[in-house]
């Protein structure tokens, strides 16, 4: 087990065949569903990124190149499980059919924003979809997953928690503290490092990635650590299944490094050509996860170029319609929830301070 963190779990080979002991042997429908959700994630990202350029939102972040992760894990895990996301696993929501229009409204901070205008775009919360509340701070929810998982075990439930952290963010104390608690209390959790090789402008070496693998950090806690090809939908699925099974059998936490690549800029505020070769993305070391799954399905005879093109078309239409509907409600600054929402939810019941201040503002 001490060697696992230094290998790389892969299922899809160069020829698009699913090979080796980790092959999860998924149904063709499952593959199609996965591909759909990944393509939807990508289509949504493209369009909403453009909305930002048009001034319709204050901020956006793409998952480009990393879609296999959120999608495979969302599909693999149960509806009662909870994911503690980063901003780069929106595929989780797309795979679970979270309404596009709700996403759009949140991103436009308009009157129908499900988060009531209180949160930066894409820092979603979607309890019913097993998606814990995001925040701008990186890392600080990693330990919540462990507490949540411990609570599930305490209650005798069989729900498990899955958490993400970027490879750059593993340097935070939160990472270490979460793993320590996970190990000591044998929390039914799956803790994932998404190693997309970049943290804004810093390559993974600045987080210690040149000294060893991120999966190897598991050894410090006596936990199993898996290093997985994060651009391989099947490998992500299989590793997650293995770790989830361990968690549900009360064998405790697994640390999974998902080796991937951030193909786009960090966010709408970022210009990656300032710090990395402009063509780096073209040489994705592990290949585009969408292309790889598509190739596999075509090799299986379960997919073809025409259906692929049609699917992209359909998804883009869905996204465009959602965006149009959202725009009709309004975009950043043109529409927003009632200002009263600014004062709600500080506490469960408002205290005199917000009551008075609301009055002062005349609302």
């Amino acid at each position: 087990m001490r060697d696992l963190p230094f290998g790389l779990v892969r299922v899809l080979d160069e020829a698009g065949q699913a090979v080796g002991p980790w092959n999860p042997r998924l149904e063709a429908d499952t593959l199609r569903e996965g591909l759909r959700a990944m393509l939807l994630t990508r289509a949504f990202d493209e369009r909403l990124f453009r909305s930002h350029r048009q001034g319709k939102t204050s901020f956006y972040m793409k998952s480009t190149g990393e879609e296999a992760i959120g999608v495979a894990q969302s599909m693999m895990l149960g509806r009662e499980d909870m994911c503690f996301p980063t901003y780069r696993v929106m595929g989780w929501l797309h795979a679970r059919g979270y309404p596009l229009i709700d996403m759009v409204n949140q991103i436009f901070s308009n009157a129908n924003d499900p988060l009531k205008g209180r949160q930066l775009p894409i820092l979603f919360s979607a309890r019913d979809y097993g998606f814990y509340t995001l925040s701008g701070n990186v890392g600080s929810r990693f330990g919540h997953a462990v507490g949540w998982a411990m609570a599930s075990a305490y209650r005798g439930d069989d729900k498990i928690a899955l958490a993400y952290i970027g490879e750059g963010t593993t340097a935070e104390g939160d990472f270490h503290e979460a793993l320590t608690f996970a190990a000591v209390y044998r929390a039914p959790a799956v803790l994932c490092v998404t190693n997309n090789q970049w943290a804004i402008s810093s390559y993974s070496g600045i987080a210690g990635g040149e000294e060893t693998t991120f999966a190897a950090k598991a050894i410090a806690y006596g936990l199993p650590g898996l290093r997985v090809d994060g651009n391989d939908f099947l490998a992500v699925w299989a590793a997650t299944e293995w770790a989830a099974e361990r968690a549900r059998s009360n064998l405790g936490t697994t640390l999974i490094e998902l080796f991937t690549y951030r193909a786009s800029g960090h966010s709408t505020s970022d210009d990656p050509t300032k710090y990395r070769p402009a063509d780096e993305a073209a040489h994705w070391p592990l290949g585009d996860p969408v292309e790889r799954l598509k190739g596999h399905m075509i090799a299986l005879g379960e997919w073809d170029e025409a259906r692929h093109a049609a699917l992209i078309e359909t998804l883009d239409t869905q996204v465009r319609e959602a965006v149009k509907t959202g725009e009709a409600v309004g975009t950043l600054g043109k529409s927003k929830p009632s200002v009263a929402e600014m004062f709600e939810g500080v506490f469960k019941e408002p205290d005199w301070r917000v009551v008075e201040q609301r009055r002062e503002l005349g609302i």
Binding site: H144, Y154, T180
Partner: protein
């Protein structure tokens, strides 16, 4: 009604809640088998089992993060931080997460957690076992901060805090654990025995968060205090001979502004007393509020009596600690003007 010291009253509150609500659980450094370095969780593991009361790694950030996750699941964890000085490694968890969960998720998630911690000086604990960090919590939107001054309140407020659906920082004046202390360090130690505020009902009861207590009525000045300073204030008032009204705030967030304003409007003078160093302390907020709301009733400047603007200095504990004499002087100054 049995007489309890503050440790017993707090232990009792936890015991009652463990028995009453299966969602309550307790953890912290040394809180399990050992029962806590101040013995507040003594016997709870033996009585309620290892799953309900256990030890945590030395990781305050990890403790609060874990509690928040449990709270988000639906439990009501009570975390102990061994000394309030050591809450700081968990400050980000409290501020960026616990305090903001409900607001940012539009009510989808919240953190019904209670963070207990002994705070304050008077025990020769030196720089890092004596501090009073309440001001940095009071400024955080979404966080409640509660500070009892006697065993009865301690039990009732702690139960209220645990039952509250928002995160509560519950600061326990460690100098009051075993007896009231009025700042006269050269006098014989007092215990809680015989003090009416130490008569603590066995059963469940609450003291509501956000309601101050008028500890002493008075006509000529208002003294605002909390925690250990309530007792110091009483002694200082007696020493001064001023007929001062003494208000025990009990919780600083939510703050009982009505009681404060009514009193200062009546008396026309106000002295604020706290252990924390003065600059940027909670006394500033109180003074600002009082002058905003009672300006035309004030006969003299609001005074603040507080720790000096230095770190907590071990050998100079009694030079630093704002004792009754300093309060009495401030009251006298108010009356002269």
């Amino acid at each position: 009604m049995p007489a309890m010291n503050m440790i017993q009253a707090l232990n009792h509150a936890l015991d009652v809640m463990l028995a009453r609500d299966p969602d309550v659980l307790i953890f912290g450094e040394d809180t399990g088998y050992f029962g806590g370095v101040f013995r507040v969780t003594d016997g709870l593991q033996a009585k309620h089992g290892l799953k309900r009361c256990f030890d945590a790694p030395i990781s305050e950030g990890g403790i609060i993060a874990t509690a928040i996750g449990m709270g988000a699941y639906g439990l009501r964890p009570v975390a102990e931080i061994q000394f309030a000085d050591y809450i700081l490694p968990a400050f980000d968890q409290l501020v960026s997460e616990a305090a903001r969960l409900r607001y940012r998720s539009a009510g989808e998630f919240w953190a019904p957690i209670t963070v207990r911690s002994p705070y304050g000086g008077g025990i020769f604990g030196g720089q890092t076992h004596s501090q009073s960090p309440e001001a940095i919590f009071a400024h955080i939107t979404g966080l409640k901060t509660v500070i009892p001054s006697n065993p009865y309140d301690a039990k009732g407020l702690l139960i209220a805090a645990i039952e509250d659906d928002d995160p509560v920082v519950f600061l326990e004046p460690k100098r009051l654990y075993n007896g009231p202390f009025d700042g006269r360090h050269d006098q014989a130690l007092k215990t809680w025995a015989g003090d009416p505020r130490a008569e603590v009902p066995e059963e469940h009861y609450t003291v509501p968060l956000g309601k101050a207590a008028i500890e002493r009525e008075g006509a000529d000045a208002t003294v605002l205090a909390y925690g250990t300073m309530v007792h110091v204030a009483a002694a200082g008032i007696a020493e001064s001979g001023v007929d001062a009204e003494l208000i025990d705030l009990r919780s600083i967030v939510p703050l009982d502004i009505e009681t404060i304003v009514a009193s200062v409007r009546k008396t026309g003078r106000c002295v604020i007393l706290h252990e924390a160093s003065r600059f940027g302390g909670f006394g500033g907020e109180l003074a600002a509020l009082v002058q905003e709301r009672c300006f035309y009733h004030l006969k003299s400047p609001i005074e603040r009596v507080a720790g000096w603007d230095t770190p907590y200095p071990h050998a100079f504990e009694w030079d630093y600690f704002p004792g009754p004499a300093r309060l009495a002087k401030a009251l006298a100054r108010c009356m002269e003007r």
